[in-house]
Protein backbone atom coordinates (compact mmCIF):
# COMPACT_ATOMS: atom_id res chain seq x y z
CA UNK A 1 0.00 0.00 0.00
CA UNK A 2 1.24 3.44 -0.85
CA UNK A 3 1.99 5.92 1.91
CA UNK A 4 -0.54 8.44 0.57
CA UNK A 5 -3.85 8.35 -1.29
CA UNK A 6 -3.89 9.19 -5.00
CA UNK A 7 -5.56 12.47 -4.14
CA UNK A 8 -2.79 13.45 -1.73
CA UNK A 9 -0.20 12.58 -4.36
CA UNK A 10 -2.10 14.55 -7.01
CA UNK A 11 -2.24 17.67 -4.83
CA UNK A 12 1.37 17.16 -3.81
CA UNK A 13 2.60 16.73 -7.39
CA UNK A 14 0.38 19.47 -8.84
CA UNK A 15 -0.35 21.84 -5.99
CA UNK A 16 -3.18 24.30 -6.72
CA UNK A 17 -2.93 27.99 -5.89
CA UNK A 18 0.79 28.04 -5.19
CA UNK A 19 2.45 31.39 -4.73
CA UNK A 20 2.07 34.79 -3.19
CA UNK A 21 -0.55 37.57 -3.39
CA UNK A 22 1.48 40.76 -3.14
CA UNK A 23 -1.48 42.96 -2.16
CA UNK A 24 -3.20 40.34 0.01
CA UNK A 25 -5.94 41.51 2.35
CA UNK A 26 -4.98 38.85 4.86
CA UNK A 27 -1.95 36.71 5.55
CA UNK A 28 -1.69 33.80 7.97
CA UNK A 29 1.46 31.90 8.83
CA UNK A 30 1.65 28.92 11.18
CA UNK A 31 4.13 26.24 12.20
CA UNK A 32 7.85 26.57 12.60
CA UNK A 33 10.93 25.37 10.79
CA UNK A 34 12.14 23.56 13.89
CA UNK A 35 9.23 21.12 13.62
CA UNK A 36 9.61 20.87 9.88
CA UNK A 37 6.34 22.47 8.77
CA UNK A 38 5.46 26.05 7.90
CA UNK A 39 2.36 27.16 6.01
CA UNK A 40 1.60 30.62 4.79
CA UNK A 41 -1.79 31.58 3.32
CA UNK A 42 -2.50 34.76 1.37
CA UNK A 43 -6.14 35.82 0.92
CA UNK A 44 -7.73 38.41 -1.35
CA UNK A 45 -11.12 39.23 0.06
CA UNK A 46 -13.97 40.95 -1.80
CA UNK A 47 -17.59 41.22 -0.65
CA UNK A 48 -16.92 38.96 2.34
CA UNK A 49 -15.77 36.31 -0.10
CA UNK A 50 -12.38 34.72 -0.74
CA UNK A 51 -11.77 36.15 -4.19
CA UNK A 52 -8.30 34.65 -4.41
CA UNK A 53 -6.01 32.53 -2.30
CA UNK A 54 -2.39 31.46 -2.60
CA UNK A 55 -0.11 29.45 -0.35
CA UNK A 56 3.53 28.75 0.36
CA UNK A 57 4.54 25.68 2.33
CA UNK A 58 7.74 24.27 3.75
CA UNK A 59 6.98 20.72 4.71
CA UNK A 60 6.35 17.13 3.81
CA UNK A 61 4.17 15.76 1.05
CA UNK A 62 1.01 15.78 3.11
CA UNK A 63 1.67 19.33 4.31
CA UNK A 64 1.90 20.55 0.74
CA UNK A 65 -1.18 18.55 -0.29
CA UNK A 66 -3.16 19.78 2.73
CA UNK A 67 -2.33 23.40 1.91
CA UNK A 68 -3.32 22.90 -1.69
CA UNK A 69 -6.60 21.20 -0.80
CA UNK A 70 -7.44 23.84 1.81
CA UNK A 71 -7.05 26.61 -0.75
CA UNK A 72 -9.42 24.78 -3.10
CA UNK A 73 -11.97 24.36 -0.34
CA UNK A 74 -12.08 28.05 0.52
CA UNK A 75 -11.66 29.71 -2.84
CA UNK A 76 -14.85 31.58 -3.79
CA UNK A 77 -16.41 30.84 -0.41
CA UNK A 78 -18.06 33.32 1.94
CA UNK A 79 -15.98 34.12 5.02
CA UNK A 80 -18.72 32.66 7.25
CA UNK A 81 -18.21 29.33 5.52
CA UNK A 82 -14.44 29.64 5.54
CA UNK A 83 -14.53 30.09 9.29
CA UNK A 84 -16.20 26.69 9.57
CA UNK A 85 -13.45 24.84 7.72
CA UNK A 86 -12.03 22.01 9.81
CA UNK A 87 -8.92 19.92 9.47
CA UNK A 88 -11.16 16.89 9.14
CA UNK A 89 -12.77 18.37 6.04
CA UNK A 90 -9.32 18.91 4.53
CA UNK A 91 -8.22 15.37 5.35
CA UNK A 92 -11.47 13.87 4.05
CA UNK A 93 -11.24 15.82 0.82
CA UNK A 94 -7.81 14.24 0.39
CA UNK A 95 -9.30 10.74 0.87
CA UNK A 96 -7.62 10.56 4.24
CA UNK A 97 -4.15 11.05 5.69
CA UNK A 98 -2.04 8.59 7.67
CA UNK A 99 -2.73 9.04 11.42
CA UNK A 100 0.68 10.55 12.14
CA UNK A 101 0.17 13.07 9.31
CA UNK A 102 -3.15 14.43 10.55
CA UNK A 103 -1.30 17.40 12.06
CA UNK A 104 -0.65 18.59 8.50
CA UNK A 105 -4.39 19.08 8.00
CA UNK A 106 -4.55 20.82 11.39
CA UNK A 107 -1.86 23.17 10.20
CA UNK A 108 -3.88 23.97 7.06
CA UNK A 109 -6.94 24.80 9.16
CA UNK A 110 -4.83 26.92 11.48
CA UNK A 111 -3.17 28.80 8.61
CA UNK A 112 -6.56 29.80 7.24
CA UNK A 113 -7.81 30.76 10.72
CA UNK A 114 -4.66 32.82 11.20
CA UNK A 115 -5.34 34.63 7.92
CA UNK A 116 -8.95 35.30 9.00
CA UNK A 117 -7.70 36.63 12.35
CA UNK A 118 -5.40 38.94 10.45
CA UNK A 119 -8.30 40.12 8.29
CA UNK A 120 -10.67 40.74 11.21
CA UNK A 121 -7.98 42.54 13.18
CA UNK A 122 -7.73 44.96 10.26
CA UNK A 123 -11.50 45.04 9.73
CA UNK A 124 -13.13 44.56 13.13
CA UNK A 125 -16.41 45.86 11.70
CA UNK A 126 -16.69 42.72 9.54
CA UNK A 127 -16.87 40.37 12.49
Amino acid sequence: MALYSDKVMDHFRNPRNVGVIEDADAVGEVGNAKCGDIMKMYLKIENDTVADVKFETFGCGSAIASSSMATELIKGKKLDEVRELTNKAVAEALDGLPAYKMHCSVLAEEAIKAALDDYYSKHPEKL
Binding site: M9, P15, E29, K34, G36, M39, F58, I64
Partner: protein, 395 residues
Protein backbone atom coordinates in the same frame (compact mmCIF):
# COMPACT_ATOMS: atom_id res chain seq x y z
CA UNK B 1 15.60 5.78 -15.41
CA UNK B 2 15.36 3.88 -12.08
CA UNK B 3 18.26 4.50 -9.76
CA UNK B 4 18.64 2.68 -6.48
CA UNK B 5 20.60 5.04 -4.22
CA UNK B 6 19.65 3.62 -0.84
CA UNK B 7 22.23 0.88 -0.36
CA UNK B 8 22.67 1.82 3.30
CA UNK B 9 19.03 0.85 3.86
CA UNK B 10 19.46 -2.47 2.14
CA UNK B 11 21.17 -3.95 -0.88
CA UNK B 12 20.05 -6.14 -3.71
CA UNK B 13 21.05 -9.75 -3.11
CA UNK B 14 23.97 -10.84 -5.25
CA UNK B 15 23.52 -13.60 -7.81
CA UNK B 16 25.92 -15.86 -5.95
CA UNK B 17 24.04 -15.33 -2.67
CA UNK B 18 20.70 -16.16 -4.30
CA UNK B 19 22.14 -19.25 -5.97
CA UNK B 20 23.70 -20.42 -2.72
CA UNK B 21 20.42 -19.85 -0.89
CA UNK B 22 18.29 -21.69 -3.42
CA UNK B 23 20.69 -24.61 -3.59
CA UNK B 24 20.71 -24.83 0.18
CA UNK B 25 16.93 -24.76 0.40
CA UNK B 26 16.63 -27.47 -2.24
CA UNK B 27 19.34 -29.81 -1.05
CA UNK B 28 20.31 -28.99 2.51
CA UNK B 29 16.93 -28.88 4.12
CA UNK B 30 17.94 -31.06 7.06
CA UNK B 31 18.04 -29.69 10.58
CA UNK B 32 21.67 -29.19 11.60
CA UNK B 33 20.80 -30.61 15.04
CA UNK B 34 19.63 -33.94 13.56
CA UNK B 35 22.09 -36.80 13.67
CA UNK B 36 21.24 -38.54 10.39
CA UNK B 37 23.22 -37.79 7.27
CA UNK B 38 20.92 -35.06 5.91
CA UNK B 39 21.09 -33.18 9.21
CA UNK B 40 24.82 -33.56 9.55
CA UNK B 41 25.32 -32.42 6.00
CA UNK B 42 23.37 -29.23 6.82
CA UNK B 43 25.54 -28.87 9.91
CA UNK B 44 28.66 -29.09 7.76
CA UNK B 45 27.27 -26.52 5.38
CA UNK B 46 26.54 -24.24 8.30
CA UNK B 47 30.05 -24.63 9.70
CA UNK B 48 31.60 -24.00 6.31
CA UNK B 49 29.70 -20.73 6.17
CA UNK B 50 30.94 -19.86 9.66
CA UNK B 51 34.53 -20.51 8.64
CA UNK B 52 34.11 -18.44 5.49
CA UNK B 53 32.67 -15.50 7.43
CA UNK B 54 35.25 -15.68 10.21
CA UNK B 55 38.07 -15.60 7.66
CA UNK B 56 36.84 -12.30 6.19
CA UNK B 57 37.20 -10.46 9.50
CA UNK B 58 40.23 -12.35 10.80
CA UNK B 59 38.31 -14.22 13.50
CA UNK B 60 38.23 -17.82 14.63
CA UNK B 61 35.04 -19.64 13.48
CA UNK B 62 34.21 -20.38 17.12
CA UNK B 63 34.00 -16.64 17.72
CA UNK B 64 31.08 -16.20 15.31
CA UNK B 65 27.48 -16.47 16.55
CA UNK B 66 24.71 -16.24 13.97
CA UNK B 67 21.84 -13.88 14.73
CA UNK B 68 18.76 -12.53 13.00
CA UNK B 69 20.68 -9.41 12.03
CA UNK B 70 22.53 -6.35 13.26
CA UNK B 71 20.00 -5.24 15.86
CA UNK B 72 19.97 -8.60 17.61
CA UNK B 73 23.78 -8.74 17.51
CA UNK B 74 24.00 -5.24 19.03
CA UNK B 75 21.52 -6.14 21.77
CA UNK B 76 23.30 -9.37 22.61
CA UNK B 77 26.78 -7.82 22.66
CA UNK B 78 25.78 -4.90 24.87
CA UNK B 79 23.63 -6.95 27.23
CA UNK B 80 26.42 -9.52 27.59
CA UNK B 81 29.04 -6.93 28.48
CA UNK B 82 26.63 -5.16 30.83
CA UNK B 83 25.83 -8.36 32.72
CA UNK B 84 29.50 -9.25 33.04
CA UNK B 85 30.18 -5.70 34.17
CA UNK B 86 27.50 -5.77 36.82
CA UNK B 87 28.90 -9.02 38.21
CA UNK B 88 32.26 -7.27 38.58
CA UNK B 89 30.68 -4.15 40.08
CA UNK B 90 31.20 -2.12 36.90
CA UNK B 91 28.15 -0.28 35.60
CA UNK B 92 29.53 2.45 33.34
CA UNK B 93 29.20 2.24 29.54
CA UNK B 94 30.68 4.55 26.92
CA UNK B 95 29.18 5.06 23.49
CA UNK B 96 28.52 7.91 21.06
CA UNK B 97 25.61 10.25 20.49
CA UNK B 98 24.95 9.02 16.97
CA UNK B 99 24.81 5.26 17.28
CA UNK B 100 22.11 3.22 15.61
CA UNK B 101 18.94 2.94 17.70
CA UNK B 102 19.66 -0.76 18.26
CA UNK B 103 22.53 0.47 20.44
CA UNK B 104 21.05 3.70 21.81
CA UNK B 105 17.74 2.17 22.85
CA UNK B 106 19.48 -0.76 24.52
CA UNK B 107 21.65 1.70 26.44
CA UNK B 108 18.57 3.73 27.42
CA UNK B 109 17.03 0.54 28.82
CA UNK B 110 20.22 -0.22 30.72
CA UNK B 111 20.12 3.26 32.25
CA UNK B 112 16.77 2.38 33.81
CA UNK B 113 18.43 -0.77 35.15
CA UNK B 114 21.11 1.17 37.02
CA UNK B 115 23.80 1.64 34.40
CA UNK B 116 25.44 4.97 33.72
CA UNK B 117 26.03 5.85 30.07
CA UNK B 118 28.47 8.42 28.69
CA UNK B 119 27.85 9.42 25.07
CA UNK B 120 30.97 10.82 23.44
CA UNK B 121 30.53 13.82 21.14
CA UNK B 122 31.06 13.15 17.45
CA UNK B 123 31.86 16.74 16.49
CA UNK B 124 30.95 18.52 13.26
CA UNK B 125 32.88 16.04 11.16
CA UNK B 126 31.06 13.06 12.66
CA UNK B 127 34.22 11.58 14.17
CA UNK B 128 35.05 10.43 17.68
CA UNK B 129 38.29 11.79 19.13
CA UNK B 130 40.40 8.96 20.61
CA UNK B 131 41.69 11.22 23.39
CA UNK B 132 38.11 11.93 24.44
CA UNK B 133 37.45 8.22 24.70
CA UNK B 134 40.60 7.75 26.75
CA UNK B 135 39.55 10.51 29.13
CA UNK B 136 36.05 9.08 29.50
CA UNK B 137 37.11 5.58 30.53
CA UNK B 138 36.74 5.01 34.27
CA UNK B 139 37.61 2.23 36.68
CA UNK B 140 33.98 1.07 36.54
CA UNK B 141 33.64 1.16 32.73
CA UNK B 142 32.46 -2.25 31.55
CA UNK B 143 31.96 -1.55 27.85
CA UNK B 144 32.86 0.84 25.06
CA UNK B 145 30.62 0.59 21.99
CA UNK B 146 31.33 2.79 18.97
CA UNK B 147 29.91 2.18 15.53
CA UNK B 148 32.44 1.41 12.80
CA UNK B 149 30.76 3.56 10.14
CA UNK B 150 27.67 5.69 10.60
CA UNK B 151 24.55 4.54 8.78
CA UNK B 152 23.38 8.03 7.88
CA UNK B 153 26.42 10.18 7.23
CA UNK B 154 28.86 7.36 6.54
CA UNK B 155 31.73 8.63 8.67
CA UNK B 156 34.29 5.95 9.51
CA UNK B 157 35.65 6.00 13.04
CA UNK B 158 39.31 5.48 13.99
CA UNK B 159 38.38 1.99 15.19
CA UNK B 160 41.93 0.64 15.46
CA UNK B 161 42.95 3.51 17.72
CA UNK B 162 39.80 3.29 19.81
CA UNK B 163 40.29 -0.46 20.14
CA UNK B 164 43.90 0.00 21.24
CA UNK B 165 42.84 2.41 23.98
CA UNK B 166 40.22 -0.02 25.26
CA UNK B 167 42.65 -2.92 25.12
CA UNK B 168 45.25 -0.96 27.10
CA UNK B 169 42.65 -0.09 29.73
CA UNK B 170 41.21 -3.60 29.82
CA UNK B 171 37.72 -2.54 28.75
CA UNK B 172 35.75 -4.68 26.26
CA UNK B 173 35.28 -2.92 22.95
CA UNK B 174 32.23 -3.52 20.76
CA UNK B 175 31.62 -2.02 17.35
CA UNK B 176 28.39 -1.98 15.37
CA UNK B 177 29.96 -2.67 11.98
CA UNK B 178 26.71 -3.15 10.09
CA UNK B 179 27.61 -0.51 7.50
CA UNK B 180 31.28 -1.47 7.31
CA UNK B 181 31.40 -5.25 6.93
CA UNK B 182 31.82 -6.16 3.29
CA UNK B 183 32.69 -2.56 2.42
CA UNK B 184 35.84 -1.84 4.44
CA UNK B 185 38.73 -4.16 5.30
CA UNK B 186 38.32 -5.43 8.85
CA UNK B 187 40.72 -7.47 10.98
CA UNK B 188 39.31 -7.90 14.47
CA UNK B 189 42.64 -9.07 15.93
CA UNK B 190 44.81 -6.32 14.47
CA UNK B 191 42.16 -3.71 15.31
CA UNK B 192 41.66 -4.80 18.92
CA UNK B 193 37.95 -5.42 18.43
CA UNK B 194 36.37 -7.61 21.10
CA UNK B 195 32.85 -7.72 19.72
CA UNK B 196 31.44 -6.83 16.31
CA UNK B 197 27.91 -6.81 14.87
CA UNK B 198 27.09 -7.37 11.21
CA UNK B 199 24.01 -7.71 9.01
CA UNK B 200 23.89 -9.70 5.77
CA UNK B 201 21.49 -7.53 3.81
CA UNK B 202 23.88 -4.59 3.90
CA UNK B 203 26.39 -6.49 1.77
CA UNK B 204 24.11 -8.18 -0.78
CA UNK B 205 23.05 -11.01 1.48
CA UNK B 206 19.51 -11.79 2.59
CA UNK B 207 17.49 -9.91 5.21
CA UNK B 208 16.94 -11.52 8.60
CA UNK B 209 20.48 -12.83 8.95
CA UNK B 210 23.53 -11.44 10.67
CA UNK B 211 26.29 -12.37 13.03
CA UNK B 212 28.05 -11.36 16.18
CA UNK B 213 31.78 -11.81 16.61
CA UNK B 214 32.83 -12.21 20.23
CA UNK B 215 36.46 -12.67 21.16
CA UNK B 216 37.26 -15.99 22.79
CA UNK B 217 36.99 -15.78 26.57
CA UNK B 218 34.39 -13.01 26.72
CA UNK B 219 31.07 -14.08 28.22
CA UNK B 220 27.99 -14.16 26.03
CA UNK B 221 24.46 -13.86 27.36
CA UNK B 222 21.46 -15.49 25.70
CA UNK B 223 18.71 -13.24 24.43
CA UNK B 224 16.73 -16.23 23.22
CA UNK B 225 16.48 -19.29 25.42
CA UNK B 226 15.76 -22.73 24.10
CA UNK B 227 17.84 -25.30 22.29
CA UNK B 228 21.58 -25.77 22.22
CA UNK B 229 22.19 -24.13 18.85
CA UNK B 230 25.15 -21.77 18.52
CA UNK B 231 26.95 -23.43 21.44
CA UNK B 232 23.89 -22.73 23.55
CA UNK B 233 24.17 -18.97 23.04
CA UNK B 234 21.35 -18.44 20.57
CA UNK B 235 18.47 -20.86 20.56
CA UNK B 236 16.36 -21.63 17.52
CA UNK B 237 16.98 -23.76 14.46
CA UNK B 238 19.62 -22.02 12.41
CA UNK B 239 18.57 -20.09 9.31
CA UNK B 240 20.85 -22.26 7.21
CA UNK B 241 19.86 -20.91 3.76
CA UNK B 242 20.19 -17.33 4.99
CA UNK B 243 23.54 -18.01 6.63
CA UNK B 244 24.90 -19.78 3.56
CA UNK B 245 23.78 -16.89 1.38
CA UNK B 246 25.34 -14.42 3.82
CA UNK B 247 28.65 -16.26 3.61
CA UNK B 248 28.53 -16.27 -0.19
CA UNK B 249 27.68 -12.55 -0.28
CA UNK B 250 30.41 -11.67 2.18
CA UNK B 251 33.04 -13.75 0.42
CA UNK B 252 32.16 -12.01 -2.82
CA UNK B 253 32.15 -8.54 -1.25
CA UNK B 254 35.53 -9.21 0.36
CA UNK B 255 36.99 -10.52 -2.87
CA UNK B 256 35.82 -7.48 -4.84
CA UNK B 257 36.34 -4.89 -2.13
CA UNK B 258 39.32 -3.15 -3.69
CA UNK B 259 37.66 -2.94 -7.08
CA UNK B 260 34.36 -1.77 -5.58
CA UNK B 261 36.05 0.93 -3.54
CA UNK B 262 37.99 2.14 -6.57
CA UNK B 263 34.70 2.33 -8.48
CA UNK B 264 32.68 4.01 -5.74
CA UNK B 265 34.97 6.73 -4.41
CA UNK B 266 35.23 8.73 -7.66
CA UNK B 267 31.45 8.44 -8.16
CA UNK B 268 30.79 9.53 -4.59
CA UNK B 269 33.13 12.50 -4.97
CA UNK B 270 31.55 13.46 -8.30
CA UNK B 271 28.12 13.43 -6.65
CA UNK B 272 29.38 15.50 -3.72
CA UNK B 273 30.98 18.05 -6.06
CA UNK B 274 27.78 18.26 -8.11
CA UNK B 275 25.48 18.75 -5.13
CA UNK B 276 27.81 21.30 -3.54
CA UNK B 277 26.97 23.59 -6.45
CA UNK B 278 23.42 23.90 -5.12
CA UNK B 279 23.45 27.19 -3.16
CA UNK B 280 23.11 26.94 0.61
CA UNK B 281 23.75 23.25 0.81
CA UNK B 282 26.31 21.35 2.85
CA UNK B 283 27.81 17.89 3.01
CA UNK B 284 27.20 16.13 6.32
CA UNK B 285 30.20 14.40 7.85
CA UNK B 286 33.87 14.34 6.97
CA UNK B 287 34.48 14.42 3.21
CA UNK B 288 37.27 11.82 3.24
CA UNK B 289 36.79 9.60 6.28
CA UNK B 290 33.49 8.26 5.02
CA UNK B 291 32.12 5.12 3.41
CA UNK B 292 32.98 4.82 -0.28
CA UNK B 293 29.33 5.05 -1.36
CA UNK B 294 27.86 7.51 1.15
CA UNK B 295 26.69 11.03 0.29
CA UNK B 296 24.59 13.00 2.78
CA UNK B 297 23.57 16.62 2.26
CA UNK B 298 21.45 19.28 3.90
CA UNK B 299 19.62 21.76 1.70
CA UNK B 300 18.40 24.85 3.45
CA UNK B 301 14.77 25.94 3.08
CA UNK B 302 13.21 22.62 2.10
CA UNK B 303 11.90 19.52 3.83
CA UNK B 304 13.26 16.06 3.17
CA UNK B 305 10.12 13.99 2.68
CA UNK B 306 8.75 16.11 -0.14
CA UNK B 307 12.21 15.97 -1.72
CA UNK B 308 12.20 12.15 -1.52
CA UNK B 309 8.71 11.85 -3.01
CA UNK B 310 9.57 14.05 -5.97
CA UNK B 311 12.85 12.21 -6.51
CA UNK B 312 10.92 8.94 -6.44
CA UNK B 313 8.72 10.36 -9.21
CA UNK B 314 11.92 10.88 -11.18
CA UNK B 315 13.07 7.34 -10.54
CA UNK B 316 15.52 7.97 -7.70
CA UNK B 317 15.24 5.91 -4.49
CA UNK B 318 16.92 7.78 -1.64
CA UNK B 319 16.40 8.53 2.04
CA UNK B 320 16.25 11.47 4.42
CA UNK B 321 16.72 12.25 8.07
CA UNK B 322 13.75 14.60 8.21
CA UNK B 323 11.21 14.24 11.01
CA UNK B 324 8.50 13.29 8.54
CA UNK B 325 10.45 10.28 7.39
CA UNK B 326 11.36 9.22 10.91
CA UNK B 327 7.76 9.20 12.14
CA UNK B 328 8.60 11.57 14.98
CA UNK B 329 8.70 15.33 15.38
CA UNK B 330 12.47 15.42 15.62
CA UNK B 331 14.80 15.07 12.70
CA UNK B 332 17.63 12.53 12.69
CA UNK B 333 19.57 12.26 15.96
CA UNK B 334 22.68 11.76 13.84
CA UNK B 335 22.37 15.17 12.18
CA UNK B 336 21.60 16.82 15.52
CA UNK B 337 24.67 15.09 17.01
CA UNK B 338 26.95 16.70 14.41
CA UNK B 339 25.47 20.08 15.26
CA UNK B 340 22.95 20.59 12.48
CA UNK B 341 20.06 22.64 13.83
CA UNK B 342 16.50 21.33 13.39
CA UNK B 343 15.62 23.78 10.60
CA UNK B 344 18.45 22.47 8.44
CA UNK B 345 18.32 18.83 9.52
CA UNK B 346 14.77 18.55 8.14
CA UNK B 347 16.18 19.19 4.68
CA UNK B 348 18.57 16.27 4.52
CA UNK B 349 19.12 13.75 1.78
CA UNK B 350 21.10 10.52 1.93
CA UNK B 351 22.27 8.85 -1.26
CA UNK B 352 24.14 5.59 -0.85
CA UNK B 353 25.66 4.26 -4.03
CA UNK B 354 26.25 0.64 -4.93
CA UNK B 355 28.70 -1.32 -6.99
CA UNK B 356 26.51 -1.03 -10.08
CA UNK B 357 25.94 2.73 -9.84
CA UNK B 358 27.16 4.43 -13.01
CA UNK B 359 28.55 7.87 -13.80
CA UNK B 360 25.48 8.52 -15.95
CA UNK B 361 23.27 7.81 -12.94
CA UNK B 362 25.31 10.17 -10.77
CA UNK B 363 24.91 12.95 -13.33
CA UNK B 364 21.17 12.25 -13.59
CA UNK B 365 20.90 12.51 -9.80
CA UNK B 366 22.81 15.80 -9.67
CA UNK B 367 20.59 17.32 -12.37
CA UNK B 368 17.30 16.12 -10.86
CA UNK B 369 18.15 16.90 -7.24
CA UNK B 370 19.20 20.40 -8.27
CA UNK B 371 15.88 20.91 -10.08
CA UNK B 372 13.71 19.51 -7.31
CA UNK B 373 15.46 21.53 -4.59
CA UNK B 374 14.98 24.67 -6.66
CA UNK B 375 11.30 23.84 -7.25
CA UNK B 376 10.56 23.19 -3.56
CA UNK B 377 12.35 26.38 -2.60
CA UNK B 378 10.20 28.33 -5.08
CA UNK B 379 7.20 28.06 -2.76
CA UNK B 380 8.88 27.61 0.61
CA UNK B 381 8.11 30.41 3.08
CA UNK B 382 11.33 29.51 4.89
CA UNK B 383 13.37 30.04 1.74
CA UNK B 384 11.54 33.33 1.08
CA UNK B 385 12.51 34.61 4.52
CA UNK B 386 16.12 33.58 3.96
CA UNK B 387 16.34 35.24 0.57
CA UNK B 388 14.64 38.43 1.77
CA UNK B 389 17.07 38.64 4.66
CA UNK B 390 14.39 38.26 7.32
CA UNK B 391 16.32 35.28 8.68
CA UNK B 392 20.05 34.70 8.16
CA UNK B 393 21.19 31.70 6.12
CA UNK B 394 22.62 28.92 8.23
CA UNK B 395 24.38 27.07 5.41
Amino acid sequence: MRIYADNAATTRMSRSAIDAMVECMEKEYGNPSSLYTLGQSAKETLERARTQIAAVIGADPKEITFTSGGSEADNQAIRSAALAGRKAGKTHIISTAFEHHAVLHTLKKLETEGFEVTLLPVHEDGLVRPEELEAAIRKDTCLVTVMYANNEIGTVQPITELGAICRAKGVPFHTDAVQAVGHLPIDVKAQNIDMLSASAHKFHGPKGTGFLYVKKGLPLLNLIEGGAQERGKRAGTENVPGIVAMAAALAESAENMERNTAHLIPLRNRLIEGLKRIPHSALNGDAVKRLPGNVNFCFEGIEGESLLLLLDDRGISASSGSACTSGSLDPSHVLLAIGRVHDVAHGSLRLTLGEDTTEEEVDYMIKNITEVVEYLRSFSPVWRDLVSGKHPFIL
